[in-house]
């Protein structure tokens, strides 16, 4: 009897274990993995999003160069991230920098990091590193030479992005301090905005800046870019919950709502200033709204997200107005969009953060200290990013000129940097034939035959 009871108990234990197996301790969660797979893909789509946003706003003769500044970051920053960047950012290391434990993706396996496979966490972070670097391009399009640009964003990923990512997300000093940055207000936006401004200054102004009107050659492309950014940003912010849960949903809703409010306010500002709500303005507003909500997405209520979006329109709007009257040639207003927008967002996070919705309380919920912490995070990012970016650019300038000469700028960066044009119709294009010997030559002439009209 006893034994039978005991055996019942044993069976029971087995049953309990089975039940436990059904609800395992948080190792890899299939649902979280599903959402993070999607989020990573979404963030990777933001890089072409930037390519089209920026590419549509430049002149046709510089369109490919601008887009290539973004697309090439997949190669340069992506590979560098895998080789060393990820390890410097997310290796344990110390307060200021990670270590080389994950260099060359060693030890990045299929085991769980949080509730998703480590290799997926690495991929998600890689998508951030790539898109952050591309943001810088907006400040130096139309003039920076392609080689030095690639060198810069490659080095920048290692020496500027990785450290700051470590500070905030890798267990570094800013995270210990309690700075709130849900999805990268400091690491991504302030950082890129400041680096971009420094680059605009160090590289110098465009030929004819302030003398000629340089108008967007394809505003629909800019709208397409903004749309892809909006879409991808759901992975950027929503994915920063690193799980498919309430926090992700909240961040998603905030990411949806904030730019809606920004858009409304921006169109009103535009209307009162210029008598028109412009499409370029709308595209810009969406991006600004996204930037502003980024650090706060998982920490604020939906109502606060609407407020933050609405408020966030104002500083960036006037920063653009102000910038266009200065001699600062930040061509596509990266400072106003990402720098100022990021600062607004980071500080407002310290105002609106609500422990009831995740994270810590901010000013409005009785914790003014948080605002100070946020300011510290902002200041540290500005100072480090400005100095380090400056040093890197000057170092590269010692090896090779940063800006293309006036003639190359005049012909267009597409032809001078890439030897191709965005839109050709083949008129007057003479085909240079190099036929394989074994083949009958197309024409008696040695090298060239006549080109024609497409």
């Amino acid at each position: 009897m006893v034994s039978s009871v005991l055996s019942a108990a044993a069976l029971l234990a087995a049953a309990v274990q089975e039940a436990a197996a059904a609800a395992p301790p948080p190792t890899v969660s299939p649902a979280d993995t599903a959402w993070m797979l999607v989020s990573t893909a979404l963030v990777l789509l933001m890089t072409p999003g930037v390519a089209f946003f920026y590419g549509g706003l430049v002149r046709a003769k510089n369109a490919l160069n601008t887009m290539m500044m973004c697309m090439a970051a997949f190669g340069v920053c992506g590979v560098i991230w895998a080789v060393v960047g990820y390890s410097l950012a997310f290796g344990t290391g110390g307060n200021y920098l990670g270590d080389f434990s994950f260099a060359l993706l060693n030890n990045v396996g299929l085991d769980a990091k949080g509730t998703i496979p480590h290799v997926l966490f690495m991929a998600y972070q890689a998508s951030f590193a790539v898109v952050t670097a591309t943001l810088i391009a907006g400040a130096i399009v139309d003039r920076m030479r392609f080689g030095p640009y690639l060198a810069f964003i490659g080095l920048w990923t290692v020496f500027v992005y990785a450290p700051i990512a470590h500070w905030v997300w890798g267990g570094g000093w800013l995270s210990k301090l309690g700075v709130l940055d849900f999805a990268g207000g400091t690491v991504v936006h302030i950082n890129a905005g400041v680096a971009a401004t420094v680059a605009a200054i160090v590289v110098g102004r465009r030929k004819d800046f302030g003398r000629q009107a340089m108008l967007p050659h394809n505003v629909p492309f800019a709208l397409l870019g903004a749309a892809l950014l909006y879409f991808g940003w759901f992975g950027f912010n929503g994915g920063s919950a690193l799980a498919s849960n309430a926090s992700a949903s909240q961040a998603f809703a905030a990411t949806m709502l904030a730019p809606m409010a920004t858009l409304v306010v921006w169109m009103l500002l535009d209307y009162f200033r210029n008598k028109h709500a412009t499409a370029v303005g709308a595209a810009t507003a969406i991006v600004v709204g996204l930037v502003v909500i980024t650090p706060a997405a998982g920490f604020v209520s939906p109502q606060s997200a609407l407020f933050m979006g609405a408020l966030g329109a104002i500083p960036s709007y006037y920063a653009i107005v102000w910038r266009s009257r200065t001699r600062l040639d930040d061509s596509l207003d990266v400072l106003a969009g990402h720098g100022v927008g990021g600062m607004t967002g980071a500080l407002l996070t310290g105002v609106f953060a609500d422990a009831a919705w995740g994270g810590t309380n901010g000013l409005l919920h009785g914790n003014p200290g948080q605002l100070l912490k946020q300011a510290t995070g902002v200041a540290a990012t500005i100072v480090y990013s400005a100095i380090a970016s400056f040093v890197l650019l000057k170092a590269i300038a010692m090896v090779s000129a940063l800006a293309a000469d006036a003639r190359a700028q005049g012909r267009g960066m597409d032809i001078s940097q890439h030897g191709e044009e965005a839109y050709t119709n083949g008129e007057g294009a003479l085909l240079v034939l190099e036929t394989v010997e074994a083949q009958p030559a197309a024409r008696p002439a040695k090298v060239a035959t006549a080109g024609g009209v497409a």
Binding site: M214, L215, T278, V280, T284, W322, D333
Partner: protein, 117 residues
């Protein structure tokens, strides 16, 4: 023989083509151009940048005509292209020494007489 060059409003091309058709002027060449004249400039804004658009879209017609057609062609255009507002455009009558029809290598009058087929 003359080459009649007319600069007109794009939205009048329609009417001018019809008017020329009625005047039995069938051969012509059209291109898009930008014109500057007495029109007031449109103001556009791109982010912080405000620009005045000095050049306005126009359409340029080039019509080779034999002498008996000069008058009717000019008249057809003058009538169809006019709105009375600044920016209606101009007509230039330019002398031509020779005209060739490439297909047949016909010269002068014959070259601008519509082909029958």
């Amino acid at each position: 023989m003359k080459l009649i060059v007319a600069i007109i409003r794009p939205d009048k091309l329609n009417d001018v083509l019809e008017s020329l058709y009625r005047a039995e002027v069938k051969g012509l060449t059209v291109s898009r151009v930008l014109g500057h004249g007495g029109e007031t400039d449109a103001v556009e804004t791109y982010r912080g940048t405000t620009v005045k658009m000095e050049l306005h879209e126009k359409v340029r017609l080039e019509i080779g005509v034999s002498n008996p057609f000069i008058e009717v062609t000019v008249r057809a255009i003058l009538e169809a292209a006019c709105t009375g507002e600044v920016g209606d455009g101009k007509i230039f009558v330019v002398p031509v020494e020779n005209v060739y029809r490439i297909r047949t290598k016909e010269k002068d009058e014959a070259a601008v007489t519509p082909a029958l087929h």
